[in-house]
């Protein structure tokens, strides 16, 4: 057991954990942040996707000891009121079915749009390939990411 101070969604959380415990289980079992999901435990499905310094990572495969003082964002930290453009787009396109994979999908989509504000279908397919959805919401995910890209565009400057 070791002590860690983790920076999650803008605040610091102190935890006692086995250094090898994946961030996923720290979030879920020790901090009760259950929006991040367990799907495979081996970086195959993306259900556990969170951001580490703004990049999408699989929290099931990241030991807590490797996190250090890097900033973690989970689905709970995206907005307090579903106001994030990606959440808005997800609602507009009615993406979720069972919903289990969706928090991971959304975290991957947010990271993609940060890197690439105007992704093509191909860009989306490449970036989102690591996120499985057994309910088959893929066509709607593509539409929602395009929609979010539009929502995120700064309003055209008027002179």
């Amino acid at each position: 057991m070791a002590s860690y101070k983790l920076s999650i969604n803008g605040s610091t959380h102190a935890v006692e954990a086995d250094p090898k415990m994946p961030l996923l289980w720290v979030l879920r079992d020790l901090l009760n942040l259950t929006g991040t999901k367990y799907g495979c435990g081996m970086a195959q499905c993306g259900a556990c996707t969170v951001h580490l310094n703004g990049n999408a990572i699989r929290s099931c495969s990241m030991p807590v000891s490797a996190v250090g003082n890097q900033k973690i964002t989970t689905i709970e930290g995206l907005s307090t009121d579903n106001s994030h453009a990606v959440q808005q787009a997800w609602i507009a396109e009615q993406v979720p079915q069972c919903g289990y994979c969706q928090t991971g999908q959304i975290m991957s989509a947010v990271a993609l749009l940060k890197r690439n504000p105007n992704p093509t279908d191909r860009d989306i397919d490449m970036a989102m390939q690591g996120n499985l959805c057994r309910c088959g919401t893929y066509p709607r995910i593509r539409k929602a990411i395009h929609k979010a890209a539009t929502l995120m565009k700064p309003p055209a400057k008027s002179f």
Binding site: G41, E76, C98, G99, Q102, T103, G130, G136
Partner: protein, 720 residues
Amino acid sequence: MQNTNSINRRAFLKLSGLTGAALTIGFYFPALAEESASIITAETADSLGIALNAFISIDKNGKVSILNHRSEMGQGSFQAVPQMIAEELEVSLDQVSINFAPGHQNKYGSQLTGGSSTVRGAYKHLLRTGATAREMLLEAAAKKWNVPKEECYALKGEVIHRPTNKKIGYGELVEEAAKLTPPKQVTLKERKNYTIIGKPLPRQDTPLKVNGKAEFGLDKKLPGMLYAVVERSPHFLGKIKSYDDSAVKTMPGVKHVIKVQMPVFNTTREGIAIVADNTWAAMQARKALKVEWDTTGFEHLDTTGLYNRMKEDLKKPGLSQRTGGNFEGMYAKAAKKLEAVYETPYEAHACMEPLNCVADVKDNKCEIWGPIQAPDWIQRDLADRLKMPVENIAVHMTFLGGGFGRKAFTDYTTEAALISKEIKAPVQVVWTREDDMNQGPFRPGAVYECKAGLNNGRIAAFQTKMAAQNMNHQWPHADKSNFNDSTTEGLPEAFINGIDHYSFSDIPTESPIPVMWWRSVYSSTNGFAYESFMDELAHAAEKDPLDFRRQHLREERYVALIDMLEEKTGWKSRGKNSGWGVAITECFKSIVGEAVKVSKQADGKLKIDRIVAVMDCGWYVNPDIIKAQVEGSIVMALGAATNHETHFTDGKAVEQNFHQYQMPRISDVPDIEVYIIENEEKPGGVGEPGLPPFAPALCNAIFDLTGKRIRKLPFNMNEV
């Protein structure tokens, strides 16, 4: 049904978050005949001691609460039920909230969510319940104003007096309305006047599913709850010969190591539960466990052996499900004869949320939380196994991260309850992905032998034999001389009606592998055989595949569906061998036609260009949910057709996780076009019928493009 504590109105009010006076009505079944539900108020039910299906309640603030008796696993029953109630009650959807009903067969009828039955089973009662409440509120307002009821109408949660435009909110009427006797007859709205039903309204659960707040089974936490994983026999039966947990017990966080049993149909699988103070600790400790299994009497079968057995079985006479005319006689003298054998694989359900269950057993009471499709069955099963009265068992349904049939079973809940009972603490049993994928029960694979004779370009005689495990034969004391009543599942009823000489039979293949329902059940494999064979027959008859189906499906609904498929695909103007394929199946009273267009890319690999689906599910509630369900069904079918399969070796499942069981990814799936037929037919299923026609439509398209006939699933799209 005369069960005095079934109504328990206070519990209902508590569950709905309602306080004080309210109008609460629901329906019950005086007799078992489903058509004759009676609608009464909670007060009357109380005084008569009647077990009420307490469905809706309106409180003093006009807030409407519905107790949903079905589980939500993605298919949208969360949405369909409120839409139906809101329509007839004349309230807007945002005035309605919904709660899951805890398991109780007496109160809610069967709660099993399976067979795409949520809307199908209860729609009339739900509509009538909404309409009855509306009429009672109208009557209460008329009384209050002392005006004729006919001068009043209801709109958006208010009663309005037409001549004076006076208005009063439902909340102010509930107390009076609750004293009235519900009218025996109510007039339901006409479809053309619907403002909520038939509209693509957004699902109410979506906001919860984009911010992590939707609570799935795995998210449930109780004070003092421990976490367990279970090492179960990798064979589908098996007792523990010996085990060594000395290393486990010293691992950090480990609280208990105990032996458990899990009933699976007529077998019992033993396992060792490792209980710890978090999931990870339990998983780590499990690795230190050493178990020796006793598999005496277990057959160490592998996939090749299993399929050889099915093929051997096809040589035996089948158990006949349906016959008409004289197949043998007609076939013998048919002008053209065709024969083909099709193979379909075993599959895991692979819900994104692995199985899990929270159980708290103490003081002769048991509470269960989890992703559950069959709360009432679980309740009865637990009462049996724990030897407790049914009313001491509460089953709570969380959101389900996928179900597809797997979560309609009782094994995982029983196991959790037994562990909690033994350790005397609340516990969450977590199935790892590997456990979820290798323990089954699986969709049964099947081999089909199809034969048909053609005369003058028409099918004169048609026969199929299916060799597959019969799910029903797995129960203790099952009568194995029973035929499989799902042998024709998936095949359009109109097809059978239009053929004079046919025979459908099955040979129940014996195997130690546990099998069960998988989205669309036997239709998921039958559809491939029947609709591929239909395509082969069309080619043999030198007919256009769509015309050939039109010729054999001569009923109005099919004709309308075929016309729409033709129009939406631009079927008539397609080029010769341009890679179009089509298939039509019927499943849970819905008819679905799907057409697929494939092409070869520069690198020679196959690509799906277009997928067009036409759904006829009769009267429906929410077109957007239907579209989503058809899209999802197609993606799942694509996986089972081209990507994944569960293999067995030495009597154990081979595939353990998603690196071996490769499900479709976003890059494998093009856009999917879904069209819905408008008609007034009885509602059919929505969550499953989109699945069966996809694989045959795809393979028929590949034949059209390449001339290569695929008769065995799954196949590799890159190697055709």
